[in-house]
């Protein structure tokens, strides 16, 4: 498992409503404090869970983003996007 910063950020999303609000309003700014690679940042902002999975992010944690509707993710587009790089 790599991508520790992404995992840590998703954990915070699950527990911190104010952080979720920041991510809705200005995702680029909200992500700034996390030491993400360019590939991780680009994939997160695009809601590209398939790319994030390829980069080593755990699918279980990625799926936790869906209930919050962050990064454009929905229950409808998630199954397609998670397969987009496999």
């Amino acid at each position: 498992m790599s991508s520790y910063a992404v995992h840590k950020m998703i954990k915070r999303i699950q527990r911190d409503p104010a952080f979720r609000q920041q991510l809705q309003q200005d995702p680029q700014a909200a992500l700034r404090e996390y030491p993400l690679t360019d590939a991780e940042r680009t994939a997160l902002l695009a809601g590209d869970v398939g790319a994030l999975h390829e980069l080593g992010v755990h699918g279980y944690l990625l799926s936790r983003l869906v209930p919050f509707g962050l990064f454009g993710l929905t229950a409808q587009n998630y199954p397609e996007r998670i397969r987009s790089h496999s």
């Binding site: 699950q14 799926s63 998630y78 199954p79 998670i82």
Partner: protein
């Protein structure tokens, strides 16, 4: 001598409390949990050892023991916001937890520990249904089966054997039930999930195969088949089978007195009783 008096295998899908609240006590899921509840109450255990896969809630990637035991006088949860479930306080059998950990370490298992912890849906969904009054003290044995690399099946089986020996080494007459919490084949959020779904049975053939091993108490065949690679193909949550394998280590090659699957969910409900 203390002893293991019964064993139970149950799913912990976090949507189940809401499903049963919605569909009522006659739905299949409610009936299956009720069946297990009746048998658990009938054997009147003094304590319940739960082999469990924490879902990165009690532990996280900043601190992830592979095998560990909750040693405290109580715990609480769920700490991950399970829908339609109240917050519970659960007693922990601290003495038994210490005994299992001490015996395990003395016999080659490098067991981690937490003395202040909450538990997530993976412990509390089964308890919500089968011990809703939280009257039976638990001992959570955490097996990190979700974050690769996961422990090996044979190691988890041996851990279950050590748990049994630890219990039987106690001079009192404590009656212990053991529980495995988790699915047989499940993927959540990876490309192995069924098309069009975020979560579901990743590997129906494996589900079928494992149910056959359980039904026939074919422990050696299960241990031979349950390679780390095979579990990975069963979904990114496929490592929850390790909890069932640890349970089998605790009770030996016994046939279940009840076994029913919800194959579409990758789940099974099982009871092992040998008192009747």
């Amino acid at each position: 001598m203390a002893e293991i008096v019964a064993a139970f295998g149950l799913p912990h899908t976090p949507s189940l409390p809401a499903l049963v609240a919605r569909e009522g006590p006659t739905c299949e899921t409610a009936q299956l949990f009720t069946r297990v509840q009746h048998d658990l109450e009938a054997v009147q255990p003094d304590a319940l050892v739960i082999f469990d896969s924490d879902h990165l809630n009690t532990f996280f990637l900043d601190n992830l023991p592979l095998l560990s035991i909750g040693v405290a006088s109580s715990t609480a949860g769920p700490n991950d916001g399970t829908p339609a479930m109240p917050r519970y306080e659960i007693p922990v059998d601290e003495q038994l937890a210490q005994q299992v950990r001490g015996y395990g370490i003395a016999h080659g298992f490098d067991l981690g520990m937490t003395q202040e912890f909450e538990v997530d849906h993976s412990v509390l969904v089964p308890l919500h249904f089968v011990t809703p009054r939280m009257q039976v003290p638990i001992v959570p044995v955490f097996i990190a089966g979700i974050v690769p690399p996961i422990p090996q099946a044979r190691r988890c089986f041996a851990l279950g054997q050590a748990v049994r020996e630890a219990i039987e080494a106690m001079p009192d007459a404590t009656r212990v039930a053991v529980m495995a919490s988790g699915s047989i084949s499940l993927d959540i959020g990876s490309p192995l999930a069924p098309p069009g779904q975020i979560a579901g049975t990743a590997d129906p053939a494996w589900m079928h195969e494992v149910l056959g091993y359980l039904k026939n108490a074919a422990v050696d065949d299960l241990l031979h088949a349950a390679t780390t690679e095979r579990l990975a193909r069963a979904g990114n949550i496929g490592g929850e089978l390790l909890n069932w394998i640890a349970l089998l280590g605790g009770i030996g090659p016994r046939r279940p007195s009840f076994l029913e699957a919800q194959a579409g969910h990758g789940d099974a409900y099982a009871i092992w009783r040998w008192d009747a």
